[in-house]
Point group: C2
Chain length 411, copies 2
């Protein structure tokens, strides 16, 4: 090769070095724990989907401008999933006769959109999709909003840190109708409303006037949403408010919709959101199966947690003990000793190189491993080890069989 | 839409319903635990890679016939990663000045190959890639083979269940040279050797004769591998054998190579394998960085474990308790009660529908949830719950505050 290869990743996607992946893992492990505690079960699917899946129902903008779509070697049109909900609906439709409804399902994984890369917008992002399928509005909608709140609270967020803005597509549709809009105009108005936050008030009013002579939002009947918010408050969610301007981008929503916002005015973007989509599964035939859900992306969540000082500690899964080897010939005995600790659940890194012990200690510090112990002929004989606490320099002599408990206590 | 959409996934990939994903999770969680205990750290990257990454060094067959390669909307040539090693090498090259070597890294995720789908061959499969980067042969090679063995043993496999066939590309190259082969002929011969298991002995001999007048394998000098195997035996791996026919498919291997085989003669395929590739990182410039590693796929591993009765139990993450609601109006109190259990780590499914309690019990059984308890006005008053063990029909009365401990003990 004449020219050296570039070491950069493909444009708009990220490499996750171990410290980066620990951060992702810390986020999604906490989310997974909460979801499992609520009786939700994890599913998954390939990011490769037949393109027709999105042509059917995802928002027009995403399909025509933002998907990765290509022909495979067998001339099938394939899309890398830009979102998970169509896949979920397809899977539910595929086994609708066998599945025990309601389904409480979630999936954590990557989604792909061909966008111009910028802060917070990447071509690949990670998302948790959470859905409750098979129940009409009512307690199911309440559970989903409570769960969205519970996830943020599981990271230590207080209700004062975020607000849940709720609305209803059914109410919006009725208001549009009352204002005299029909068919395509309703859809056009809802899409405009979804973009409102990114426009100046004047631009919004001007664009709105081209669609509707009257302001559809003035026809909203808020009573149903007020009852919903009161129920949420009674069940421990005190920071939900009615916001007739919330619509969500996707065409498939039919009922309650919500978006969670950071209360910090410096971060006015929606953190995440979701809603009810009762018509999607019926695209594959059969009776409609009602569903409600939401999705939570890694980038906005991490930003929110960082702003509020709530990012989980990042030592999850890191090695706890660095075993130094005075001589190369000590390595087999050190590995055998490490095996006894590993069998008891300790995470142990063994030096395999030939550098001096002092350099091995420096190496342990550089790696952020909290404890260091040399293991050579003396330790084999004495069955005692001298463990160095690298943060303080303190040294502890202890019998080797006490080491696993000490490591557990120390981490 | 005139025609209903198909509910099938894209050809050659799998949908993972919760029971399927639990199986994957059980496999890779066990592998992850073992790797963390050995001081390995998890990294990750996007499956989208610039196509040139594979054009440089992956096997010709994979690049020209088996990759998913397409042009993005900005006319960049993109490949869905067919394997992880080139990505690893790229990431290492990208931060070679900052990283603390040796690296003990692993990554678990999906890989893509455009193959004709058949049993055990899918267009998307999951794989754990494990690498030790920055150390030359010797203790590093020993650790990698020991770790491959430790992973199978962590599932309960005995050494009699599998055999580790080891060889060396360096030895093979030297033998080819001694037999008079040069350059392209060596590569051609090694590729033929890699396909030997899929050919009749006669076809192999005939094809071999077109490349080389002499049998290169008769020139192998086995002493170095015999020493290696003796060291493995001394360090607890008693089922490694020398096999001069092992080459591994990829062009980038330079030293020790190995493949793990099921000893069950009904399953003659390699389960997984790996080897040393000291030249790969230097493709991006700079001094070579030696590396050794292996990769383990979900399909062959699951087949092996199933054959030997070693598949892990699949209740990981399933709900433990089904809370029944006598009346719909009991749901808020039932959810609040569930929250107290969730906060203590229990996994709780709350009925939200309106069906009769008897049907709720049947529903719990269908879902495989082990315990059932109704929660209505009586339970709110008495603070006592009657929990039904669904496997036996036994009923236990207990104070609600004893429930979390009981659930932990029962699962």
């Amino acid at each position: 090769m004449a020219e050296p290869l570039s070491t950069d990743p493909y444009k708009g996607v990220r490499d996750f070095y171990p410290a980066d992946w620990r951060k992702m893992d810390a986020l999604f492990s906490r989310i997974r724990e909460t979801l499992l505690a609520w009786g939700y079960e994890e599913y998954n699917a390939s990011p490769l989907e037949r393109a027709e899946l999105y042509e059917a129902k995802t928002s027009e903008e995403i399909v025509s401008e933002q998907t990765y779509t290509f022909m495979d070697r067998g001339d099938r049109k394939v899309t890398l999933r830009p979102e998970m909900t169509p896949t979920l609906a397809r899977m539910v439709a595929n086994k609708r006769r066998e599945l025990a409804f309601p389904l409480r399902w979630f999936s954590i994984g990557n989604r792909f959109r061909y966008e111009r890369p910028q802060k917070g917008r990447l071509r690949e992002f990670y998302q948790a999709d959470i859905d409750l399928v098979g129940l009409a509005e009512g307690e199911a909608d309440i559970e989903i909003v409570r769960l969205a709140s519970a996830i943020l609270k599981a990271f230590g967020a207080a209700e004062s840190d975020f607000v849940i803005r709720v609305n209803s597509r059914a109410l919006l549709n009725a208001a549009c109708k009352a204002a005299g809009l029909t068919g395509g105009d309703v859809r056009q108005y809802l899409r405009l409303l979804d973009k409102k936050a990114k426009m100046t008030p004047e631009a919004f009013v001007a664009a709105s006037a081209t669609i509707s002579a009257k302001d559809p939002l003035s026809f909203i009947k808020p009573e149903a949403m007020e009852t919903f918010i009161a129920k949420l408050a009674a069940s421990g969610v005190g920071n939900a408010v009615f916001d007739p301007g919330i619509t969500r981008g996707f065409d498939y929503y039919t009922g309650m919709v919500f978006e969670v916002y950071d209360t910090n005015p410096a971060n006015p973007r929606a953190l995440f959101g979701g809603g009810r989509y009762d018509g999607l599964v019926a695209l594959w035939g059969g009776d409609p199966i009602p569903a409600v859900g939401f999705a939570l992306g890694d980038v906005t969540l991490a930003d929110f947690l960082e702003t509020h000082g709530l990012l989980p500690k990042l030592n999850f899964g890191k090695p706890q003990l660095y075993i130094g080897t005075p001589k190369e010939s000590d390595i087999p005995a050190a590995q055998a000793f490490a095996d006894t600790l590993r069998a008891k659940g300790a995470r142990v890194f063994v030096n395999l190189g030939t550098r001096a012990l002092g350099d091995q200690i420096k190496d342990a510090v550089k790696r952020g491993i909290p404890y260091f112990a040399a293991y050579g002929a003396d330790e084999v004989t004495s069955n005692t080890i001298r463990m160095k606490v690298l943060a303080t320099g303190e040294e502890i002599n202890l019998p080797v069989n006490e080491l696993p408990a000490r490591l557990r206590a120390g981490n």
